[in-house]
Subunit: 220 residues, 2 copies
DNA sequence: AGTAGTCAGGTGGTCTGACCACTTTGCTGA
DNA sequence: TCAGCAAAGTGGTCAGACCACCTGACTACT
């Protein structure tokens, strides 16, 4: 993906050039990169500009630098990850709806996974949730409930993605639904989950989301 | 000169100092930061060093710079996004299995979404896939098939996440299943999808994955 | 021969001072 | 009054200079 802005971001161009250079020369992970001075000459920019690009890449974990020795290409997979993620971040999510929808994808998947693995239903967390439901405030319920569900799946990657999406999409779960209603729905969801009824649990979830959504429409 | 033996990464220190400075002065998202020259003087470092730190932060989306105007603290949500992302990136996914499973989460979600939206089933892509199935190699089938499905959902974020997960988990889809078998399964999956049978389509998908997985175990 | 010491060259880390391009501000003069 | 312009301030870039550190070759002594 070319960023194609009015090219005010020189150091971004340099990063791109650097990556294609790495590809061309077949530099492997752990190998040494050309020195800053050589890169500056090769790319026809100042060493300052090269360094700004390198420092950015270093902060992202793409490279590692050792004083007196040189700059080394870091691990492969981090590389790919960061590339796409950072591109996405720069371009900004096209719509908030994408973020919300993707978050819900992970939430549905967690509910499905938990209800289909009987051993996960024996975890003490669920009973704790049930008792809390009758006592406490409903404001944090959603967060706790879903988080615990995803934690139960033991997929840390999914958990992290969900976590960041949640922060990104913001939290505004206090309108358009009363606490009583929400408690009722969540309680039903929890019951269905513990009963191992995937379909019914998902239905509860959808109902819940329908009540809760719609308030975030004019955020952007 | 009070540096530095212990942590030779000056620009990292500067980032930390910058963030505490932001906190102290109560700078809000969207507010203007002190100019590079002022920061250099305040932190008792050169403007070069300040710039290296700022460029790193910019690549992470923490700040935005406008020539002739100044440097601005970026939006809150992006901030969180990047923070979590970078943490994740640094720590590395715990296991390859997480990545595979998360990828499959997105794939299942796409299949479900498409089969439940009749208008998406009218897209010409599917018929194109069907005809290709009888002609070409099966090697790229999986990739094409799944990608088109996710594209059809029009969730760009999910697509990007899937794309990076795919790269991350690597591709080794040519063993443990013959081309003929794979074509048969994919063909069935496609048929079920076009018929709008969510459940059957997902069942096909699971069957497919079961045949294809298991070969990637000793990659890492 | 083998070892310790020295030294030159390369590397990243930092700094200085100087331009450039751009925006805002405010002053000037008609 | 207000259009126009100059100055100041900002980020963007550059060249050149040190510094701290590492490596490797060379030297000199044992």
């Amino acid at each position: 993906m070319q960023n194609s802005q009015s090219s005010s971001k020189r150091f971004l161009d340099i990063i791109v050039e650097l990556q294609s250079l790495i590809k061309e020369q077949g530099i492997q992970y752990g190998d040494k990169l050309p020195s800053e001075r050589h890169l500056a000459e090769k790319l026809q920019v100042s060493r300052t500009a090269v360094r700004e690009a390198l420092r950015s890449m270093e902060l992202l974990g793409l490279i590692k630098t050792k004083r007196g020795e040189g700059t080394f290409l870091s691990d492969f997979k981090k590389h790919q990850l960061v590339e796409v993620l950072s591109t996405f971040i720069m371009q900004q999510a096209r719509s908030v709806q994408d973020v919300v929808e993707t978050r819900m994808i992970h939430e549905r998947a967690a509910i499905t996974a938990v209800t289909q693995q009987p051993e996960l239903l024996l975890l003490p967390v669920w009973k704790g949730m049930q008792s809390k439901l009758t006592e406490e405030d409903a404001v944090f319920l959603r967060e706790d409930m879903v988080r615990e569900t995803i934690i139960a799946t033991e997929n840390r990657l999914s958990l992290k993605i969900w976590f960041l999406l949640k922060q990104y999409s913001g939290v505004s779960f206090d309108v358009a639904i009363t606490e009583k209603e929400e408690i009722a729905i969540v309680s039903e969801l929890l019951d269905e989950m513990m009963a191992g009824n995937t379909k019914q649990a998902l239905a509860c979830y959808e109902q819940w989301m329908n009540r809760v959504e719609g308030e975030r429409r004019e955020i952007e």
